[in-house]
């Protein structure tokens, strides 16, 4: 027991020192393998919209003000080129077609595991033979991170899947990424069996609504 404790402490010291070294060296330069999101060079800045039907206004502790106008301008398109219309316009979501290709991750990791690579190869094959459709990649986490941390981790997972598919020659413009953090678990249990199912990237086929 005691030696176990010692080992644990030693492990902690090693992990902390390693992390410090990595922190100093790894957090400062821009790696070349990042794939920019299409449209990111386009016009930037806040996009005005009117009050949506879901907004309510009140000064805390004072009389409520009822919601104002209905939405007149939607969220503008984000320059996904020829896939704009399917990604940002009306589309159908097929959540079944890639169900067996859900990508699972290790705890606190956004690395695509070897066991998951064939799934993404299948998905890439689909897009080689199809036209006009697009892919929504949804990054999800287990409940073992704080909420804002999980948003970033889920985003990083979705982007890792996107990057992998782009390397398999899927057009980057065709892929939309979303992060849900730990807000959409498939298993609400509080154990590793549940957590391992929740650390995932869901792949959703988007097809134009006719």
């Amino acid at each position: 027991m005691e030696s176990k404790m010692k080992n644990l402490n030693l492990f902690r010291v090693l992990v902390v020192s390693a992390a410090l070294v990595i922190g100093v060296t790894a957090c400062h330069h821009k790696p070349s393998s990042i794939t920019p999101i299409p449209g990111s060079e386009g016009p930037i800045g806040p996009v005005p919209t009117s009050t949506g039907p879901g907004a309510s206004g009140t000064v805390p502790g004072e009389t409520a003000v009822s919601p104002v106008t209905e939405t007149t301008t939607g969220i503008p398109e984000n320059g996904n080129g020829k896939y704009d219309s399917v990604i940002n316009g009306p589309h159908n979501e097929d959540r079944e077609i890639f169900k067996n290709d859900t990508v699972y991750f290790d705890f606190d990791s956004a690395t695509i595991k070897a066991s998951e690579e064939s799934k993404l190869q299948d998905v890439a094959t689909h897009f080689k033979s199809s036209t006009g459709d697009a892919l929504q990649v949804e990054g999800n986490c287990d409940e073992r991170g704080t909420e804002k941390y999980n948003l970033s981790l889920g985003d990083r997972r979705a982007l890792a899947i996107r990057e992998y598919l782009v390397n398999l020659r899927v057009d980057a413009q065709r892929i939309k990424t979303v992060t849900y953090g730990a807000s959409k678990p498939v298993d609400s249990g509080h154990n590793e069996a549940a957590w391992s199912k929740n650390r995932r990237g869901d792949l959703v086929l988007l097809t134009p609504k006719k």
Partner: protein, 382 residues
């Protein structure tokens, strides 16, 4: 009117006489880290409940051998006095007009807390948080103790990371209402809202600087979740970090010049960076282990609170310059009150999350008013 005049005269008189009691008061104040026993008499019902809860939040408890005698009444309005035990005259006698009985009792409690803890008043401040019910999450605003809750959004979608714009009239939050991860600005007075940041990829976790001029947030438009700042009108966007790893949870130093955030590089660690750009520096949190996330910088600049671990989570406090960290509670996502003494944080209750208040020096924890649904991601208006 006559009563008011009498009261004023009485207050003046007591004020003069109470000088005698000052030496004793200073003696009693020596330590801020211990509970202060008091007695409360005269107040009834809601006024008494509010006063007891408020004082308890700062480690001032009704107990035997009281060091202070709090006496009051609530016939139409709250009046009360504070007297050091053994003194023949109160330090002061005050009456509160306007607002509800709750508001008056909070004001009385603020005056007592100012006297006994020398802290900025917090009992009439607001918090924003995320409420999760079956199928949806919404942004809510309430008094700091959970009363007077207003559900601000009704989008039946996901929301995250509500954060006050200084002044307390608007919030920023992340919403998925358009099937994208975007940051919204919501004016509490008019209900008007707009997309504050809806860049390609995801835009989330916005925090406004204390001076109200700049906003820190996480954008993934470069292909990786990185830290950015822009002006409050959305102009002047600047990328601050360029790593492949995911950055998260920015918070501001009180001088609005530095940002503390989480960089996951092997494991999650806290880093600081100038809001104008430059090299990020790791903040050493001695004694804390595992992933270190959700930092919040105290308004007086002296401390940073953060979360460690991966369920169960623990809350720690350390000097803002780094150094030895102290574990202060079980829970996650701490946010400082304007007094730099109290933290509101998320605690795991039975099958749901609740918001609790922690008096950091005494480690005294009080849970806010319970509502149906799970509450998390508290942001204190300051």
């Amino acid at each position: 009117m006559k009563l008011n005049l009498n009261l004023m005269l009485a207050a003046l008189l007591f004020g003069a006489l109470s000088l005698q009691a000052q030496d004793r008061v200073i003696e009693i104040r020596k330590s801020t880290t211990r509970l202060i026993p008091v007695s409360i008499t005269g107040l009834t019902g809601e006024a008494a409940d509010v006063l007891k809860f408020d004082l308890s939040v700062l480690g001032i408890e009704v107990a035997d051998s009281p060091e202070y005698i709090i006496n009051g009444s609530d016939n139409g309005r709250v009046e009360g006095s504070l007297t050091p035990a053994g003194a023949s005259h109160p330090l002061w006698l005050r009456a509160y007009a306007g607002g509800s009985v709750r508001a008056q009792a909070h004001a009385f409690a603020d005056d007592i807390a100012k006297e006994l803890r020398q802290t900025t008043p917090i009992f009439r401040t607001k918090v924003a948080f995320r409420l999760s019910r079956v199928g949806a999450t919404e942004v809510c605003v309430s008094d700091y103790d959970g009363y007077g809750m207003i559900v601000l959004t009704h989008d039946a979608t996901l929301v995250s990371s509500p954060s006050w714009i200084p002044g307390g009239h608007s919030l920023l939050y992340t919403s998925w209402m358009n099937n994208k991860t975007e940051i919204y600005e919501h004016n509490l007075a008019t209900g008007a809202r707009r997309v504050f940041a809806g860049y390609p990829g995801a835009s989330f976790s916005a925090e406004v600087a204390p001076d109200g001029r700049r906003v820190a947030m996480i954008l993934s438009k470069s292909g990786s979740p990185n830290l950015y700042v822009c002006n409050l009108d959305g102009s002047g966007l600047k990328e601050l970090t360029f790593t492949r790893d995911d950055d998260s949870s920015p918070c501001w130093a009180p001088d609005s010049r530095e940002i503390c955030f989480v960089c996951r590089s092997g494991r999650a660690m806290l880093q600081k960076i100038s809001a104008d750009g430059g090299a990020a520096v790791t903040v050493h949190a001695g004694g804390a282990y595992g992933n270190l996330t959700s930092p919040d910088w105290s308004p007086d600049g002296s401390q940073i609170a953060f979360t460690s671990g991966s369920r169960p989570f623990h809350i720690w406090v350390m000097p803002a310059s780094g150094g030895e960290a102290k574990m202060v509670a079980d829970g996650e996502d701490p946010c400082w009150a304007p007094n730099s003494r109290t933290l509101i944080f998320t605690q795991q209750g039975n099958d749901k999350q609740v918001l609790s208040l922690l008096d950091v020096p005494t480690k005294h924890v009080k849970t806010v008013r319970q509502i149906s649904g799970s509450c998390s991601e508290p942001s204190w208006a300051r």
